[in-house]
């Protein structure tokens, strides 16, 4: 039996980058196999497979989120016109500093994201899933926050870009990602351990 430890980096990746619920039984099995004579390259391959399978399962389990976000984002022209209308009628948001209309634009985008998130929650409940209040509340904040952070990042990396002043691909992609981020964690678990053997 080997006495050396498995590759430290691979173990760290396995424990920290594998999506979904932590699977201690799997981690233990890999350690046991490595201890019984498996190679470091075998261990690395198993870690890579665990991460790939984990992400595949996460994405498949949340296919409803991706389909809904795609369809809702297809309505982007509608919320863009809403943003323009809101900006035109929100004189109260025009404050005495440059780019102060961004606040009005951000609020209009947030309203649109919240409407999308609310529609997703309705769909989620209609297909018989259980909603957890804490995750719902978190989702409401994550959407606009993600949108703001991504736009700031885009502005920092490229030329100045308004929140909703131009309906370009980056804005649409940002909107899509923000809606996905809001709805992603609404689903509670991917794995199931409900059928325990009666001891």
């Amino acid at each position: 039996m080997k006495t050396i430890n498995p590759p430290v980096i691979a173990t760290w990746i396995l424990e920290h980058l594998t999506p979904g619920d932590r699977n201690d039984a799997l981690f233990g099995d890999l350690l046991e196999e490595f201890s019984s004579g498996r190679s470091a390259s075998w261990y690395w391959r198993q870690v890579a497979a665990a991460i790939a399978i984990g992400y595949f399962r996460e994405i498949r389990a949340r296919s409803l989120v991706l389909v809904f976000a795609t369809l809702w984002t297809a309505l982007a022209p509608a919320w863009w016109f809403f943003a323009l209308w809101f900006a035109a009628h929100s004189a109260g948001f025009i404050l005495p500093w440059p780019d102060s209309t961004i606040l009005g634009e951000f609020i209009s985008v947030s309203l649109s994201l919240w409407a999308g998130f609310a529609a997703y929650l309705l769909l989620y409940a209609l297909v018989g899933r259980t909603l957890v209040l804490e995750r719902v509340v978190r989702g409401f904040w994550i959407g606009p926050l993600t949108f703001a952070l991504l736009i700031i990042l885009i502005k920092a990396l490229s030329h100045p870009l308004g929140f909703a002043t131009s309906l370009n691909r980056l804005t649409i992609l940002t909107y899509f990602l923000s809606l996905v981020a809001a709805a992603w964690r609404v689903r509670t678990r991917v794995t199931s351990q409900s059928n325990a053997i009666a001891s």
Binding site: N23, I53, S192
Partner: protein, 114 residues
């Protein structure tokens, strides 16, 4: 045809997993199940793919699990033992019945044995 729609036949990998778990009896946890599959398939198996299939089968009620003992060589992590449920055995028998029936309809394969 309506009766068939109610049944959920096992896929190839799922069938192998259930048979391996059934063969191993009380010693069916991730490592032995993976080794059993490797021995009979003559190819390496990803332990995580075995777990993914086991958890999928557990979700269908065909497999049940319980946590076992933790050992030093496992870094203090508990084993997760699996067991085929009554519904699992029923699904295996039904899948075997359908497969056997289909194999027997192939004239050139008759007499090869199951």
């Amino acid at each position: 045809m309506e009766e068939m729609a109610d049944r959920d036949y096992l896929g190839e990998f799922e069938l192998m997993i259930i048979l391996a778990v059934a063969n191993l009896g009380d010693e069916a946890y991730g490592v032995p199940v993976s080794r059993e599959l490797e021995k009979h398939r003559n190819r390496t198996v990803s332990v995580s793919s075995v777990y993914a299939a086991l958890e999928r089968l557990e979700g269908k009620g065909l497999i049940a699990s319980r946590l076992g003992e933790a050992t030093q060589e496992r870094g203090g992590r508990a084993k997760r033992y699996f067991q085929v449920t009554k519904d699992g055995l029923k699904a295996v028998r039904e899948t075997r019945r359908v497969l056997t029936s289909l194999w027997r309809r192939l004239p050139e394969l008759e007499g090869e044995g199951a």
